[in-house]
Every structure is written in C-alpha cells, then in structure tokens.
C-alpha cells in the first residue's frame, strides 16, 4: 500500500509541479502587485468588404493565423469593433465593411503577464481549443493538489520517527486554518 501511494504521489507531483509553479508564481505577482507592462503594436490590413464581425474574425484566424476567443463585438457608425483574445495576446480590431479596411491593435503580455492570465483562465466554453485544453489542465491540477496533500500526509504518517514534529505542525496548521475559515464564514 505504501509503495502504491508513494508512486502515485511521485508521479502526480512530478507531472504537475511545473504547472503548479505557474499558479504559485503568478499568485506572488498578484499578491504583491508587481507591475506587468504590455507591448502595444499596430497593423493595417485589407479584408473582403461587407463582412460581419464573426466572418472578419474567422478570416483573420484562417488566413493570418490569429488565435483566441471572439469578444466585445460592437457597431459604431461605419465601423465594426471586436476583439480576439487569448491569455498572452489581445487584438482590438476595427473593421470598415464598406472598403474592407481593418486596423488591428495588438497587446502582448510578457511572460509574467502570461502566467497571470493563465492563472485566471478556466472552463471549457472557449472557441479556442488551446484555451479549453487549459481548462482541463486546471481541473487536473485542482484534483492533483488535493491528492498530493492526502498522499503526502499518509506517507508522513508512515514514517514513525517524524510523527512527533509532523503532528505538531499538522495540528497547528489545521487549528489556524479551520479557525480562520470559521471566523471568516460565520461573522
């Protein structure tokens, strides 16, 4: 039993630890408000005239390699505005159906910004497959965190000469966390 639990802990831990670090490092960035500076650039293109927002976005994705979720569609006078967004890059698109002219503002995040956006990315309802895949990764990581805790406690408990210090630390941790959670929930 110990061997099985130990191998499970090892395999879960080694497969998930780098991704858990993504969440932990971005949590430090958010908790301490480390600034993330975007890189902004622009591009002008021409598409076929008379398209709607979805068709124009689809053409950008198919022919120009843009990737992400289509969002924030709005018509303003002679132009249609929409965005194409994935965690590391957001495109703000202004399309003129009359002539097919299109202006794209591209906002790219540095690596720390990408970690931040990945921390918030969840769910399976995105039109972009890679973003849905990250939703599954989050589900897997969430279950793995709980399993790592449970298997870790089991393995510690089986090491008899570390029970004393471990018991003190575990009891202190449980007392503090449960007391704070109860105080936060009940008051």
């Amino acid at each position: 039993m110990y061997r099985l639990i130990g191998n499970t802990h090892l395999i879960l831990g080694l497969s998930a630890s780098l991704i858990i670090l993504v969440y932990a490092v971005s949590a430090v960035q958010m908790a301490h408000g480390f600034a993330v500076k975007q890189h902004v650039s622009g591009e002008d293109l021409t598409l076929a005239p008379g398209l709607g927002a979805r068709s124009a976005a689809q053409q950008l994705m198919d022919e120009r390699g843009y990737r992400g979720d289509l969002g924030n569609v709005e018509s303003a006078g002679q132009e249609i505005r929409f965005s194409i967004t994935r965690p590391g890059t957001a495109y703000a698109v202004t399309y003129h159906p009359a002539g097919g002219r299109i202006h794209i503002e591209r906002r790219e995040l540095p690596s720390m910004g990408l970690l931040n956006r990945l921390h918030h990315l969840n769910g399976f309802e995105h039109s972009n497959a890679a973003m849905n895949a990250w939703g599954w990764i989050l589900a897997w990581i969430s279950i793995t965190l709980i399993l790592l805790g449970a298997t870790g406690v089991y393995m510690w408990f089986r090491i008899h000469n570390e029970r004393r210090i471990g018991s003190i630390l575990l009891a202190a941790n449980l007392c503090v966390s449960i007391a704070l959670l109860i105080l936060l929930r009940t008051q």
Partner: protein
C-alpha cells in the same frame, strides 16, 4: 491549504453559481435616510457608507449607480455582497445581503491575499496565512522536483511524468502566448 486551492480550481472549472445566479434571494432591511440637497452623488454615497456600518470582513466600499440608476454602495466580502441602494423619493436606504455558497466562499478566500489590504484583523490574519501557503507551495514544488529527480530518477514513470508535465506546460505556453 492545498484543499482550499484545489477546491477553488474545481469551483471555477465547473462554474458553481455565483451570488447573482444562485437563485437565493438576498436578505433585505431598510433604514430611513435623506441626503442633503447640496451633496453630489459621491458625497451621498460616502454619507450612506458611514450610516450603514461596514459589514464584517469587508474591504473598501464602492459607490456607483445600480441597474435601476439608483445610487448604490457595495461592499464585497468573502461571503458575498452587501449593497445599500438609495431610494431618494422614499427617503430610505435598502440594504441587501447576498450570501454566497460555501463553494464560492472557498474561491473567494483563495484569492484573499496581501493585495487586499483589508482593515479587518481576521482578513489580515488570513492574508498572512495565504502568503505563507503560497511560498510553501513554491517550496513544496521545488523540493518535490529535487527529491523525485535525485532519488527516484531510475523509476521510468517518474521520468515520463516529469517530461509529460514539462511538455504540456511548454506547448500551452507557446499556444497561449
């Protein structure tokens, strides 16, 4: 804390209903209130905030017009939302308390960090606990990788697991960038 972090991930993954979509009606109470004519909306909001006591564990209040264009003061807490809406013609303030589910509570507490700067001592204690937990998680990951690589590298599944995790992260990074 691993359980709290894990539950928070599952809550957003499977979309546990938030306070506005849970179907639970808010608790309501009303107090008499009349704003002096000379005050701006912002000043009336501040006056309402001082009359309605800050809810337990709440951070700073937020003054804004609500969906019916009434002046409203919001306090967000880990337990949900308290909104005080001003009914100017009726000279009263309606205070509504939306209490979230235990699942959304776990999602909120996992995000209650040093960035919150709440004056509430329980929240402050929790943010220190979260801070310790985040750094512990980083230490756990790094020491776990070291232990796995140093002591069990001959175990084929250990190598496969580490390579698979690294590959998934690298591919995701490239595709999401």
């Amino acid at each position: 804390m691993l359980i709290v972090f894990g539950l928070a991930g599952l809550v957003v993954t499977f979309k546990a209903p938030d306070i506005m979509h849970s179907g639970i009606r808010p608790e309501s109470r009303t107090i008499d209130f009349t704003a002096p004519e000379s005050l701006s909306d912002k000043q009336v909001g501040e006056r309402i905030a001082s009359v309605v006591a800050r809810p337990p564990h709440a951070g700073e209040h937020y003054v804004h017009p609500d969906d019916s264009n009434r002046l409203a003061v919001d306090w967000y807490t880990v337990n949900g939302l308290v909104r005080a809406a001003y009914f100017e013609q009726e000279h009263r303030v309606e205070i509504q308390t939306w209490r979230n589910s235990i699942w959304r509570f776990f999602d909120n507490v996992h995000a209650t960090t040093m960035a919150d700067r709440s004056p509430d001592p329980v929240v402050r204690a929790w943010t220190w606990y979260i801070e310790l937990s985040i750094w512990s998680l980083i230490g756990m990951c790094l020491s776990g990788i070291w232990l796995g690589v140093a002591s069990r590298w001959q175990f084929t599944w250990a190598r496969i697991a580490f390579a698979a995790g690294g590959a998934v992260l690298a591919i995701s990074f490239l595709l999401e960038r």
